[in-house]
Symmetry: C2
Subunit: 195 residues, 2 copies
Amino acid sequence: MTTAKRDTYTPETLLSVAVQVFNERGYDGTSMEHLSKAAGISKSSIYHHVSGKEELLRRAVSRALDGLFGILEEEHARAGRAVDRLEHVVRRMVEVLISELPYVTLLLRVRGNTETERWALERRRDFDHQVAELLKAAAADGDVRGDVEVRLATRLVFGMINSIVEWYRPDTRGASGPEVADAVVRLAFSGLRQN
Amino acid sequence: MTTAKRDTYTPETLLSVAVQVFNERGYDGTSMEHLSKAAGISKSSIYHHVSGKEELLRRAVSRALDGLFGILEEEHARAGRAVDRLEHVVRRMVEVLISELPYVTLLLRVRGNTETERWALERRRDFDHQVAELLKAAAADGDVRGDVEVRLATRLVFGMINSIVEWYRPDTRGASGPEVADAVVRLAFSGLRQN
DNA sequence: CCTTGTCCCGACCGATCGTTCGGTTACTCT
DNA sequence: AGAGTAACCGAACGATCGGTCGGGACAAGG
């Protein structure tokens, strides 16, 4: 059997390169030629590992979505007061965004041109909806301010969180992951919490 | 002279159609064939009105940038206490985002593949920097909470504002423009203001 | 009438797109 | 050594890309 493979390209190593290029040039703006140059492999060789460009996209957004949906299954997201569960989800969203940065970045830029992209958009909407329900429950408990519509507040907080992919870079000596998570929670909840 | 033109296509009417398609499919994902179908005009006829695909992009992002930079020249953005000027800029940003929605949407999705896109990114950075200076001044006045880094807070508030283009639709009976502006200001500043 | 200029079109250009194919290299296993 | 196969490549595929070209339809001015 081939238990010990030579460390050549695998779909995973190829994926990490592809996602990086996708994020720099945009998915539509990236050609297979671009990918082959970045990976140091011939264009046709890519097809030995993956079925095509769209499979790379599907693998990437799947990884991002798995990370996000995993949050909802964590204990702190399932038990306790709604507002506390919400805070946990928000903090963990930031952490997942940062730990899976390139994959989530790609997910958040999907437009819906292909079947894969539309599937990704649908799952995203599903996730957003589940978090919105959490915020609605917190509002029903009276733990969240009532002068801003729940639906609107959800979208704005999501916007704040998701914007992290536009500027966060792990190498710079700027704010670290936990620092960012703290800042987001503080900023979001000092606006959301009832004083 | 041709003082009274027939109401055929102009660069402006063409632009509004193009921007809409760009936002649906992405700039790179939109072909001139797509544009010609959407505009009800032949592909080659488009070149009678504009020099090409990139000019449409340039016109669109220019319009968005003009709207944003116009805010900084308003009196309420130039005189008064820094925190009040900041609040005015934030509110007006939301209003401009909504009034010029498709153009700003396109601007915020630019990636930097062409010279035009890189120019747009540079002007965006310039605008962001000027608003960040405003927030820094408000922090120096002690009007903004000090437990979140200024640079980080700026980016998060920008993220919240800019996310509006991802979900706001003028036709739905959801929150209206002023309502959204109020919500953003309230959410952002109850987290930013010193209590 | 004829000219002039605007507006528009189908046909076509070279380049590039994502993908396929035939074949070569290089490693693993017996 | 020889067989088998995973990894890789250059060349080429049909399709589509952004853009060009020569000319037709039509209204305005003489």
